[in-house]
């Protein structure tokens, strides 16, 4: 059964996602360590956790866009970086 090159590329994407996920947990561990004994640590940890989770989810966008660009696959990119919004701001 044929295994195209894209399978290996997707395997690399999956491994990178996994590494980022482990980085998220390491980040959470660091956050827990740094906020030990700090007042309002539950709130700080909650906010920090959400930020770290957001970063992990954002990494999916980055992986998607970098991979699509390398492969030459046309997809809509983040609206934040869209030309349309930049043009509207300029106008």
């Amino acid at each position: 059964m044929r295994t195209p090159r894209e399978t290996y590329e997707l395997m690399a994407l999956i491994m990178l996602s996994w590494v980022f996920l482990l980085a998220f947990f390491l980040g959470m561990k660091a956050l827990l360590y740094m906020t030990e004994g700090v007042p309002f640590r539950v709130i700080i940890r909650g906010i920090g956790g959400v930020i770290l989770l957001g970063l992990w989810l954002f990494s999916f966008f980055v992986l998607r866009n970098v991979y699509a660009r390398l492969k030459g696959i046309p997809i809509p990119i983040l609206p934040f970086f869209s030309h349309t919004r930049r043009d509207r701001r300029r106008a």
Partner: protein, 317 residues
Amino acid sequence: MLAFLITYISTLGLEELLKKKGLTVPDVHKRGRPMVPMPGGPAIMLGLIVLLFGSYLFVRDVRIIGMLILTLSGFLIGFYDDLKRLGGRQKVLLLLIPGLLLVVSGLYNPRPILPFIGSTRLTIIYPILLIIASTIMANGVNMIDVFNGLVSSAMAIATLPLLVAFWIKGDMTMFLLALGYITVLAAFYLRHRYPSKIFPGDSGSIAIGLAYMGLIVEGSVEVLGIVALLPMILNGFFIISTLGGFIEHEDIKERPTKVLEEGFIVANRSPGAPLTLTRLLVWGGPLQERAIVYNIIILFALSALLSTVTFFIGEII
């Protein structure tokens, strides 16, 4: 074993019944688009009910009831969708219900074990995550139900790291449930594999997805489950981010792939086509359906391996 037999026999019976009732759909990835009976979900659900009830009678573990609540409620929503066809957004919102029911029942443990961190206490955030996870799991698994035999084989492979974890932790109840889950999938796979004699439908894929969620939540192996399902998560993310939201299969204007005369599948090069794992796999050249399934299974196998590694990282550190 009983769950395997019940699932297999009821799948055979359901195939005949669905054909008689004219409940068939075209197999769009084949030349001639042959009609295939759908949904096979009731047979899968019957196997899962036999598994869960049977197990509960022996071990009386309330976690099994939690799994049942999650799976059955999701199956009923999926079955309604199979018959009446819900919109994409409606389905996403309705599939919050299984998670909500699990939270209301209180049959969960808000102390997940996280790699590098160990046991945590997330009494506020965990129930919220459960509700959101319910729709993500159900819809995510539904999104990978696109080829013959894929969802049943992929989810069986994704369960293997859970078996390892349950065995090493000594959680024999969850080990046997996970094994039983694999046997139900295996029984259905015998009719779902290429060329499919029956499709699971939304009821089937949602039941499969939420039963898996039940295993990882009740077995406290949430992170292992997430890692094992990374291909599904990536696929779901690609689709939602390129379509700009939750859209039902039938409402997607541009298909991600096209089927050639000879049965080969090629990527749709149009910028409006959604990004999917399949479209990425065939971007470099056409593949037949079986080869696509084989390559996606390789991705799930890698994720299962990474999930096992994650478990051992958690044990060591």
